[in-house]
């Protein structure tokens, strides 16, 4: 049975468009009405893929091209001659598959963000030698000294007890080369940082805020927790996976804008870093119990730091994803939806764990 398809013929020499009718017969031969064209067998024709309802083209070996909007007739001719519709198009026109795909997609994203990315990143981190951590830390202290920190104003006499306490707390661990440095906090104020190579930085402001040597000790332990659990390395790897995942999802939609992408990935990143803070808190809690220190010291200290951060009026942006440092004090936004944007668990939630009696 003949199939007649109306469309447009382009000769491949000029950009003129000629309205024509193609006649396709059941044995796979095509000719064009009223045009000196001869007959062409289906095996010699290059069909364009069917994508939605875009015009379909047949490219002929003589350089000419036939274009039409009648996708169904072309598919009918193809199937008459034993050719199948592409599997992609069969999926793409299927409404219920779209719904199923959507559900699958949501599940895949949820599972990979919640479990896949953390697990894979931990596996990778475990396989990387500790030299990599040292590499990440390379030059970080110098960079921080140039941009943020000032020289410490504490005398040797003031530094010595802190240093002694630090060495005592660090003594149990022989794998990491812990090292304490003192700095003026500049606009960052009372704070402590852990670099992945084991260097821990405390600011003068933090030291002057502490009212008990175990308060400072608990913060130092928390920082050591970041180093021991290799949080910087794991964070770098997780963020890269996250970037890769969003690239896969959004693909070529550069026009959708980066802002649209930025918010969900900020949310996920802050969830990840809250997880790390909790892990470092756990580490500090366990060591404090080992050393018979009272965990409420960390709670008291965190509360005081928080009040002072508010006092400074310096709401430090916590979402800047600086990969190689772990900053300590949380911004004073403790309530409302802003909590989800914070890199730290809320202070109440954090301190509650330290105030809870030993179970």
């Amino acid at each position: 049975m003949n199939i007649r398809i109306s469309g447009r013929l382009y000769d491949g020499v000029s950009a003129t468009s000629t309205p024509v009718k193609a006649v396709c017969d059941g044995s796979g031969w095509l000719s064009i009405e009223d045009v000196d064209f001869g007959a062409i067998t289906i095996a010699d024709i290059q069909f364009s893929e069917r994508v939605g309802t875009i015009p379909r083209t047949m490219q002929f070996p003589n350089g000419k091209m036939f274009e039409c909007d009648d996708n169904d007739s072309i598919d009918r001719w193809l199937s008459q001659c034993g050719h199948q519709t592409s599997w992609q198009h069969r999926l793409e026109r299927n409404g219920s598959f779209a719904v199923a795909a959507l559900v699958a997609l949501a599940l895949v994203i949820l599972v990979s963000v919640r479990w896949g990315i953390p697990q894979i990143s931990n596996l990778i981190a475990a396989r990387l030698p500790t030299e990599v951590d040292v590499m990440i830390a390379n030059g970080t202290l110098e960079a921080l000294d140039e941009t943020i920190f000032e020289r410490s104003k504490l005398s040797d006499l003031e530094q010595r007890p802190v240093l002694e306490r630090f060495n005592q707390l660090a003594a149990y661990n022989h794998e990491v080369n812990f090292n304490l440095v003192f700095r003026g906090g500049g606009w960052i104020g009372p704070n402590a940082f852990a670099l992945p190579n084991g260097t821990i930085i405390v600011t003068d402001e933090l030291i002057s805020l502490s009212k008990h040597e175990d308060e400072l000790g608990s913060v130092l332990l928390h920082e050591m927790g970041h180093v021991v659990h290799r949080h910087s390395l794991r964070q770098v790897i997780r963020h890269s996976w996250l970037a890769m995942l969003s690239l896969l999802i959004v693909g070529d939609v550069s026009s959708a804008g980066t802002l649209v992408l930025a918010l969900p990935s900020i949310l996920v990143q802050s969830a990840y870093s809250q997880e790390f803070e909790t892990e470092a808190d756990d580490f500090a809690l366990a060591r404090m119990r080992e050393h018979n220190l009272d965990p409420t010291h960390l709670a008291n200290f965190l509360d005081r730091i928080e009040r002072c951060a508010a006092f400074d009026g310096d709401a430090i942006s916590e979402c800047d994803g600086s990969a190689t440092i772990n900053r300590e004090n949380a911004t004073p936004q403790t309530s409302g939806w802003l909590r989800y944007l914070s890199t730290h668990p809320t202070n109440e939630r954090r301190t509650a764990r330290f105030r809870r009696p030993k179970d």
């Binding site: 003129t16 468009s17 364009s48 893929e49 994508v51 992609q88 009040r307 009026g313 004073p332």
Partner: protein, 396 residues
């Protein structure tokens, strides 16, 4: 809709885009799912199907465009660009000391990426059975961008050198007790001195790309001047600056009227003051974003209009009448739609944008029949995919 007497030719044909969001949505979902399921391998096929849809639904004078890229070539290019990307990732994360050199190397790759990706895209664009092509070689790209690149590198080296040699910075730093830092100063100076190069870079890039585009035997010509681009950017900066000042004044006035001050005492109800303060600040940030979309809409519409209206393709003249407030509306509502729908409306916003742009673009001419086809060879997909992963949208 703009066929008034001021135009050099009568309107020959307007662009039309008649894609539908529901149809594209199904294509998009399949693309995303298969891309993730194959860990990115299907993305090459996804790209071809998505581009084919948008090209195929865009038509001028009764004929639509065709995207004819080979997914395998795109896959090869993507593999290479993933490797290059990984290399840069390692350099950025593990060798932060080399960051200046890394950025310099990336900048040096730029002309190659532009040439290769433009060539690939154009060679795979067909209209009425005639291919577009790009007749520049990589070396032409470097020649065209020699002056802007030399200016950027030279200026950076000069400022760095002069800064280090003079004791000016040290003096200020010492005098002000570390309040001004040398690094901040040099960064600010670099930014301020290289910002004025942006309009020139945009201009050079567009002139280079358009002057080397061919449709069959028809060459394309770009007739804008660098000055035109400077005018657009200067207006954009003046507007932005004005908006920032006005917004700052309004915010200050509102806060003053509400009797709010930045807390400077450690007192018992300071958290209440902060809570009260966060409302206006969040509102101000949101308004800033919204106004930013309109500023961006202004900039992009002017840039695109200037580019299109300065482009002649053989006997044809492109004509574009995008409006800043329309683009601003689209940017704003698109962003809200995508956020609220958790990304489900991404297909819809892409269709919407394509519709608007097509509705505002047209050809002015008399006749197109004398454009004849020219044979050409294929190039690899390497550059195109580099441009893709680094998101170098050259806006043509």
């Amino acid at each position: 809709m703009n066929s008034n007497g001021n135009l050099p030719f009568p309107v020959w044909a307007g662009f039309q885009f008649d894609g539908s969001a529901s149809e594209y949505f199904k294509i998009w979902v399949v693309n995303v799912l298969l891309t993730i399921a194959t860990l990115g391998v299907y993305s090459a096929w996804a790209k071809v199907r998505s581009e084919s849809y948008f090209y195929g639904k865009t038509s001028v004078n009764g004929s639509s465009f065709r995207y004819t890229a080979d997914p395998i070539k795109i896959l090869k290019g993507r593999t290479l660009s993933v490797l290059v990307f990984a290399l840069f990732w390692i350099l950025f994360n593990f060798y932060p000391g080399l960051i200046v050199w890394t950025l310099g190397a990336a900048l040096l790759l730029f002309p190659f990426v532009v040439v290769a990706s433009t060539a690939f895209r154009l060679q795979n664009t067909m209209y009425r059975n005639i291919r577009f092509r790009f007749d520049a070689r990589t070396i032409d790209g470097y020649k065209a961008m020699l002056i802007p690149l030399a200016l950027i590198f030279g200026l950076t080296a000069f400022i760095y050198g002069a800064f280090e040699a003079s004791e000016f910075a040290m003096k200020i730093e010492a005098e002000r007790g570390g309040e001004f830092r040398r690094e901040d100063m040099i960064f600010t100076i670099l930014l301020l001195s290289e910002l004025p190069l942006i309009p020139y870079l945009v201009f050079v890039l567009r002139r280079f790309v358009i002057n080397h585009m061919r449709y069959g035997s028809a060459a394309e010509y770009f007739v804008a001047r660098a000055m035109d681009f400077y005018k657009i950017y200067i207006k954009f900066f003046v507007f932005s600056f004005g908006v920032v000042i006005v917004m700052g004044m309004v915010l200050g006035f509102v806060m003053g009227a509400l009797g709010l001050t930045v807390p400077n005492e450690l007192d018992s109800d300071q958290s209440a003051a902060i809570a009260a303060l966060s409302g206006p600040i969040i509102a101000a940030v949101l308004v800033f974003y919204a106004v930013g979309f309109y500023l961006l809409g202004y900039l992009n519409s002017r840039l695109m209009n200037k580019t299109y209206n300065s482009t002649q393709i053989g006997p044809l003249q492109l004509h574009s009448t995008l409006r800043g407030r329309d683009l601003g509306n689209l940017y704003l509502t698109n962003t809200i739609a995508v956020l609220v729908s958790l990304g489900l409306l991404i297909p819809w916003i892409k269709i919407r944008m394509a519709k608007y742009k097509a509705s505002r673009t047209e050809f002015l001419a008399k006749d197109m029949a004398d454009i004849s086809a020219i044979e050409q060879s294929d190039t690899t997909a390497i550059g195109e995919e580099l441009g893709d992963i680094f998101d170098l949208d050259i806006g043509l």
